[in-house]
Symmetry: C2
């Protein structure tokens, strides 16, 4: 039942994403690169937006443009992170990364165009104008220099440098946590949820995001390339600061379990009927490709 709902969410997002790009015209090659980078993946950010919209009693159609915007921002970040001057990754989700397939210049532009389109998707949605403005504000803050871009900056800055636990948490809160929090919160906002509910959603997503990153670090150490859909051991090779390199495997696994428990407690307090989100939380924190 939960799996069906998840599949339904993912299908809605994938169908809707197609509608935002018009491949007819001189830009068709650019649109191909944009669409390529939206394919596959678990659509976690979009799904979180839809699930929290539904949990708060909103119509899914209201959250769908926000879900697409979140996936566009995530897609752009993967393209740019994979570029040679960043993580230099030729493989992503078991396929050639965007620049490996379309060339570096086209990949750069495809990322730029996806980021740009994300904000247009919100502005052109049928949400009330006040909700659109808030959503653009939240997404911009989450993706910007004090959010995801700032986290990627920190990641590069500290590559090969041993950092403290506080800095490590901040790095990942910005790099991956900020967009995951925005995803959950935007879902609640699409449903018109009040400030207290949005704050609880934000706290849940903060735990989830951190836990998600710890699990990611664990998998990079323990899983093989086929399970990951990308080369394993990349973090160690690039001398990245990870929770595993800092705390060791065992302690990292304990931390992930604790955060997962706390996240689910917040969900339970938020709504007695959070079955799907409880299930999703567990799913996201299991092995993932």
């Amino acid at each position: 039942m939960h799996q069906e709902k998840l599949t339904g969410y993912v299908n809605s997002i994938e169908t809707e994403l197609e509608r935002y790009t018009d491949a007819e015209g001189e830009w068709s090659g650019l649109v191909r690169a944009m669409r390529y980078s939206l394919e596959g993946g678990k659509k976690i950010r979009g799904v979180l937006a839809l699930a929290f919209c539904e949990l708060c009693g909103g119509e899914l159609e209201k959250a769908l443009p926000l879900a697409c915007a979140l996936e566009m921002v995530h897609g752009y970040s993967l393209i740019h992170d994979d570029l040679p001057c960043m993580d230099n990754a030729d493989l992503r989700r078991g396929k050639p990364s965007c620049h490996a397939k379309f060339g570096e210049a086209n990949a750069l532009l495809a990322g730029d165009a996806l980021l740009t389109l994300a904000f247009g998707a919100i502005a052109d949605s049928s949400l009330p104008d006040a909700a659109k403005s808030r959503a653009v504000s939240v997404l911009s803050a989450a993706a910007g220099y004090k959010g995801m871009a700032g986290g990627q900056f920190m990641d590069l800055k500290y590559e090969g440098t041993r950092i403290g636990a506080g800095t490590l948490v901040q790095l990942h809160s910005l790099k991956t946590g900020a967009l995951i929090r925005a995803s959950a919160v935007l879902g609640g906002m699409a449903a018109g949820a009040g400030g207290k509910t949005l704050a609880a959603i934000d706290r849940y997503a903060e735990k989830l995001g951190l836990c998600f990153q710890i699990v990611d670090d664990i998998l990079d150490r323990t899983a093989d390339a086929e399970e990951l859909g990308k080369p394993a051991g990349n973090d160690e090779k690039n001398a990245k600061n990870t929770f595993v390199s800092f705390y060791g495997l065992e302690k990292a696994e304990e931390m992930a379990a604790g955060l997962s428990r706390e996240a689910k407690e917040i969900l339970n307090a938020l709504d007695g009927n959070a079955g799907f989100l409880l299930w999703l939380t567990d799913l996201l924190l299991e092995r993932r490709k």
Copy 2:
């Protein structure tokens, strides 16, 4: 008198731009790269927004966040266009380009962060929510795959290939024209101008943008590096399609003069008191660094 007004506009924009970035924190190095890329330049897009806001009887404060957003988008586009995988330019506005100074990865992120911040600047402004939504929509369309990013894609796609006049005009309408049109239109929108006025402003800016690009192409052929603030003859070196390479210098100069005349006719029809914008139009189409 006109020069004083222009200086006032540029100063307002530069002062306001500083307010959008907080340099205290782990992201300070990223903010330095962002600010560096906003320094200098004529702030043409921001000035157009302010000037059309004033022409339409609006308060400058309303247009100022839009002017800043336009300059952020322009700044991001310069950073990314200069990157090694694009135009590979080490010099910009007489200074090292962003990646030459801060490294490729930081330049990429600084561009991303500026683009992201632009939409947040609009959403966090004091404009009415309906105006914010429209402004985000207009800016996203102008900068996206059917606008500026699409034009840059075409430019790279056709490098070294001889193209027809229609394609050449489309390329530049997207690459530089779209953002210039958005700049003028957003200024009118900040003043609450009606559809007929906005359409006239758009027509003016379309002529201006095309003329601006032709003058740019002419200067790349005729001016020296000191006048340009960047190496001259870059277009020829990179086998770019330019109006000079297509029409020759003399015909390109005729076209620029014709477009400039038409642009000023539209201004005169729009408002009998368009003195500043008439003067600005001439200024923009003279030699520029």
